[in-house]
């Protein structure tokens, strides 16, 4: 029942051409050591599934920048110009979904549903090629569930069974992604003994997790630090 592994061990699960799902939102909550390892192993032709394509040198963005992906199923690529350029050049296929629809498609895969019915996007070009269902006089799009060969997530704490706790807004897509991988790998900043996590605070039960690897903490500067350093305006969401 001890799922703690080394980075090298879990990297064997991630092969050329596989569908790789990742947690994180603008890079925050994307597991850095795993991305680093995938990069160094030289994995290519990935189908990436996640909220966004990060920043050029943050989060999953590094794999995009290095040309390791051939397809991205995502809601936003604006913060990574390399994704946009590759899309124009035809080397990266991009499938856009509304963010909330994407989250629920991933969750649907994670909880073993075939898909969901959403009215977001009805009456827009997102309808094209999609099945529709009418319920009580309202039209819904049929959105199939998403799963992946491997899912990678970042947790602040994990125990050897794979129970996970996240850190603040680093949670984002991680609990959804954790359920949707055929194999799920969690990178945890801290690995604690079995029984030391509060059962009420565990967000991802360990049953969904196949391996836990130790993280090395945040190893890059964040987008806002870069902007702050270059004197750009800080943009708070606050009151």
């Amino acid at each position: 029942m001890n799922k703690v592994r080394t980075l090298e061990e879990v990297l064997e699960w991630i092969e050329d051409g596989c569908a790789l799902m990742y947690g994180g939102f603008g890079g925050i909550g994307t597991p850095p050591a795993l991305v680093d390892g995938i990069l160094k192993k030289g994995v290519k032709d990935l189908t990436l599934i996640g909220n966004d394509t990060g920043f050029p040198w943050i989060g999953i963005g590094r794999l995009v920048t290095e040309g390791r992906a051939r397809k991205a199923i995502t809601s936003h690529i604006g913060s990574n110009p390399n994704a946009g350029r590759q899309m124009e050049e035809g080397t990266l296929a991009v499938e856009f979904h509304p963010q909330g629809t994407l989250a629920e498609k991933i969750r649907a895969g994670g909880v073993g549903l075939g898909g969901i019915l959403v009215d977001v996007g009805v009456g827009t070009m997102l309808e094209e090629g999609k099945g529709k269902v009418e319920i009580d006089g309202r039209t819904y799009l049929i959105e199939p569930a998403l799963t992946a060969d491997v899912a990678i997530v970042h947790a602040s704490q994990a125990d050897p069974f794979g129970n996970l706790v996240y850190d603040k807004s680093g949670r984002n897509f991680n609990p959804l992604v954790a359920m949707a991988g055929r194999l799920t790998i969690a990178e945890a900043d801290e690995i604690v003994p079995l029984g030391s996590l509060d059962p009420e605070r565990i967000v991802t039960p360990g049953i969904f997790v196949d391996a836990v690897i130790p993280g090395k903490g945040v190893n890059w500067i964040w987008a806002w630090e870069k902007q702050a350093a270059t004197g750009s305006r800080n943009a708070p969401h606050g009151n």
């Binding site: 939102f25 603008g26 890079g27 925050i28 909550g29 909220n51 966004d52 920043f55 995502t74 809601s75 936003h76 690529i77 604006g78 913060s79 946009g84 350029r85 899309m87 124009e88 991009v94 856009f96 979904h97 509304p98 963010q99 909330g100 629809t101 989250a103 629920e104 969750r107 009215d119 977001v120 996007g121 009456g123 827009t124 070009m125 997102l126 602040s156 996240y166 850190d167 603040k168 807004s169 680093g170 949670r171 984002n172 897509f173 991680n174 609990p175 959804l176 967000v203 945040v218 964040w222 987008a223 806002w224 630090e225 702050a228 800080n234 943009a235 708070p236 969401h237 606050g238 009151n239």
Partner: protein, 222 residues
Amino acid sequence: MGMGEASRDRIAERAARELKDGMVVNLGIGIPTRVADFIPSGVRVVFHAENGILGAGPSPVPGEEDPFLCNAGGFPVTLAEGASYCDSAIAFAMIRRGCIDMTVLGALEVSQRGDLANWIVPGKRAAGIGGAMELAQKAKKVVAVMNHVNRDGEPKIRKRCALPLTARECVDLIITDMAVIAVTPEGLELREIMSPYTLEEVVSRTDAELRIPEPERIVYLP
């Protein structure tokens, strides 16, 4: 779009005056983000962020940033009293269930019936959709903020949107560098004109029917 800082701030300041005490609010990226800097005194709102924060607080003191506490734009925030974290699915549940009282979104075009286009220009590089579709379609009040005309000088308020839509009949209020225009069941209604523009300029740069109130009811903003 070549809009100056002052103009952007004026739009943000005007949008902030739509905030009412107790509202749950989601601010988009760009001008909408600045709305947080102009909240009227005495008004307390709850900020919602798509990455799973209900109750985001002000920016932290420099040096006190937490790398795991950021808003949907990726910028560091703090936490207000009574705030909570959730995953992105639940963050969007709040939007789809109509729990967001107001959102402020950037716009490429708005039609006279309130259709919003703000995510893609065919033939140009698309950044993606993000949370715009859910917010536009489901927030109780949608405020669209933008330049009145595009960089070619063409009206962005139109009878029909030429660009692919984000959502149909969703916008309630349009705030531009020239005017404030309400979308009502009877169509567009001019409410306010921003200095130094004239009524004639607003009308001529709007490609849609615009109901003009009695002259004395038009507010001229400084």
